[in-house]
């Protein structure tokens, strides 16, 4: 289906004195699975509610297929919402819930029946048409809520933490189903979540939000592998963020100093100078015996070993006082390090990033270049 392009321009929402959404610019092309990811209070839900029409922006524009709908009431927008608590009408059967929107449009009876059955089949809920919402499990209600929104063939589907109330296993199953469904219907999905795994699994692109602003917009693997700010690095999984001083450019990146050690960081804002932060994922850190030599190594002492099942998490205390996490896969062999052992931590240059805590504009540029 054509259309479904959403563009947010300088969007601001303030409630009384509090600015919840602080000037965000985003562009979602038609047919994209786009996630707004961030902790609670970051403004992601308010942004979604403005696109739906439940909140009016304080300033800025919401362009839906080129038309500014910022002040259009919700019932006149070609977007539909799947609510966090499903919001199924408790006094209506599943069939009547799904038929609700079609009937408002004055769709003929026979067509209502056909399209409702189609939509229920799409979410595997045909057998439940006569049930009432209270007679179904959370997962079943979620599927009905999805059918109720999709049956209207909106240009954009808005999803507000739709899997939040479900147990972990069901959530995994529905993540896969949702992604498949989005590819099948081909419309734009804008998905709000605080669960990084959810966002990483399903999205084409993710906007990481923090305190009303967009920190980074990029495909999942880029936000995860190449977080551009400390916040993103920290929010997406565990990351080691270490204070460093960037000194000079080298052939392979940027030279940084951590305490008395010199390292080369091959990624991120390699033209930064002075006080900065560097980041590396625990799974990219390798531990070597004390005394081993080579570039990009830090000395430290094993402080704690945590058994995780498939891996061992090893916390290494650096001479600077900071802690470094290393994740060592469990291969069945006995771990070579114990608490109190001096070790060398190897931080490969190609996995070490210099973080840029700069404004959102630069990040947007980076994202555009990456995409």
């Amino acid at each position: 289906m054509a259309g479904g392009e959403v563009r947010l321009a300088k969007l601001v929402k303030a409630f009384d004195e509090v600015t919840v959404v602080d000037g965000i610019d985003l562009h979602m092309p038609g047919g994209e699975f786009f996630s707004l990811l961030g902790p609670s209070g970051c403004g992601k839900t308010t942004t979604l509610r403005m696109i739906a029409g439940f909140e009016q922006p304080t300033s800025g524009e919401i362009l839906l297929d080129g038309k500014n709908v910022a002040l259009t009431p919700p019932h006149k927008r070609n977007v539909n919402t799947v609510f966090q608590g499903y919001a199924l009408f408790p006094h209506l059967s599943v069939f009547d819930n799904v038929a609700f929107g079609l009937r408002r449009q004055g769709t003929p009876r026979a067509e209502v029946r056909r399209r409702v059955n189609e939509a229920l089949a799409m979410v595997h809920m045909e057998a439940f048409a006569k049930r009432r919402p209270a007679q179904m499990s959370g997962g079943q209600q979620q599927r009905v809520a999805l059918a109720r929104a999709l049956v209207l063939k909106p240009a954009v589907l808005l999803l507000d933490e739709p899997l939040g109330a479900l147990d972990a296993k069901l959530r995994k199953i529905l993540q896969i189903e949702l992604k498949a469904l989005q590819q099948e219907v081909g419309i734009t999905f804008i998905y709000v979540t605080h669960d990084q795994e959810e966002a990483l699994t399903m999205s084409d692109r993710i906007a990481v939000m923090h305190e009303g602003r967009v920190e980074q917009v990029a495909p999942p693997e880029v936000v995860y592998e190449e977080p551009s700010t400390t916040f993103v690095a920290d929010f997406l999984g565990t990351s080691n963020v270490i204070h460093a001083v960037a000194t000079q450019a080298t052939a392979s990146g940027c030279e940084v100093r951590v305490g008395e050690f010199e390292l080369t960081a091959g990624r991120g804002a390699i033209d930064a100078r002075g006080e900065t932060k560097i980041a590396i994922r625990p799974e990219r850190v390798t531990l070597e015996p004390h005394g081993s030599t080579g570039p990009n190594r830090l000395a430290g002492m094993v402080e704690r070993v945590v058994y995780l099942g498939n891996a061992n998490q090893i916390i290494v205390r650096l001479p600077t006082g900071e802690a470094l996490q290393a994740l060592v896969q469990n291969t069945g062999e006995k771990l070579a390090y114990e608490q109190g052992d001096p070790v060398r931590a190897h931080l490969p240059a190609e996995a070490l990033r210099v973080l840029a805590d700069t404004g959102a504009a630069e990040i947007e540029e980076q994202a555009a270049a990456a995409a």
Partner: protein, 289 residues
């Protein structure tokens, strides 16, 4: 101490604990009998074959339908019954829709922080009824010429003190209805008014039923306001009739008249209760198991 005797003691303590509420049970039943007995005795005497309302002389329908002094053949009694029911029906028809509208406006458009407005709107709950009656009487006789004493004034008076009850009942229900539901309705193409009609009002059904019952019962039961705002014998209700004749030479026909009132109201309350139960079961809000 052996284990067996320990469990024996525990058992004895449990028994004692379970026995204790018997006093309370007795008290509850005692109260029920005490509160219902006078009404039941009054009802029984409407079937007395003699003229007395305190000495039983045998069973008959003399005061109901048969004799010349029966309720059925007494225009004053019949008129009072008719007027009581007329006022009750009018009160329901006016106070319930108005109160629900008021409640929706208060909870949805004034927000939750509308303490002052809510308090004002439910003020008449705490104003002594006599004060309300006298002020309305003065208003209608001195200031507002359009409203004459009689049915119209009585209905306005009853609606005035019934409204807060309807508002309180409705707001209680509304606080359990998520605003998500109305937003979902608008999301699916409803204008705000359609969302109200198609989602909110159906979900308010239990509150509407409860309000109807309360409004009816309050009207039937009312004496002070209805008495003050009455005009002549044609606007006399059953409570007024009882007040005016009970101390004089009343016959069991008066008991018969009051019985009709009690039975109809009790039936309505029972019906309302059943309906309320059925509706709230059918519409369990949210909550999946």
């Amino acid at each position: 101490m052996t284990q067996a005797s320990a469990t024996g003691r525990a058992h004895a303590i449990r028994l004692r604990l379970r026995r204790r509420p018997k006093v309370l049970t007795l008290f509850v039943w005692g109260y029920i009998v005490w509160s219902l007995a006078p009404a039941l005795i009054a009802i029984a005497f409407s079937f007395n074959s003699g003229k007395s309302r305190s000495i039983w002389q045998g069973l008959s329908l003399r005061w109901w339908t048969d004799g010349p002094g029966s309720m059925l053949h007494n225009d004053v009694f019949r008129g009072a019954l008719e007027h009581s029911f007329t006022l009750a029906v009018l009160n329901v028809l006016i106070a319930v829709p108005l109160g629900i509208g008021l409640a929706i406006t208060l909870s949805r458009w004034f927000g939750r922080g509308s303490g002052a407005v809510s308090l004002l709107a439910t003020m008449t709950l705490v104003v002594p009824e006599l004060v309300l009656a006298i002020s309305l009487f003065l208003l209608f006789t001195q200031l507002l010429d359009i409203v004459e004493l009689g049915t119209m004034a009585q209905v306005i008076g009853q609606v005035t003190f019934t409204l807060p009850f309807v508002v309180v009942i409705t707001r209680g229900r509304m606080s359990s209805i998520s605003t998500d539901l109305e937003e979902a309705a608008m999301d699916l193409g409803c204008s705000p008014l359609q969302a109200l009609r198609l989602v909110l009002v159906p979900l308010l059904q239990p509150a509407i039923v409860a309000s109807v019952v309360i409004a009816f019962a309050l009207s039937i039961d009312d004496f002070v306001v209805t008495q003050y705002l009455s005009s002549d014998a044609s606007t006399q209700t059953v409570p007024m009739l009882i007040y005016n004749t009970a101390r004089g030479s009343a016959t069991p026909a008066l008991n018969a008249t009051a019985t009709v009132l009690v039975v109809v109201t009790a039936l309505l309350v029972a019906l309302g209760g059943l309906l309320y139960y059925a509706l709230s079961r059918r519409q369990r809000l949210g909550a999946a198991e």
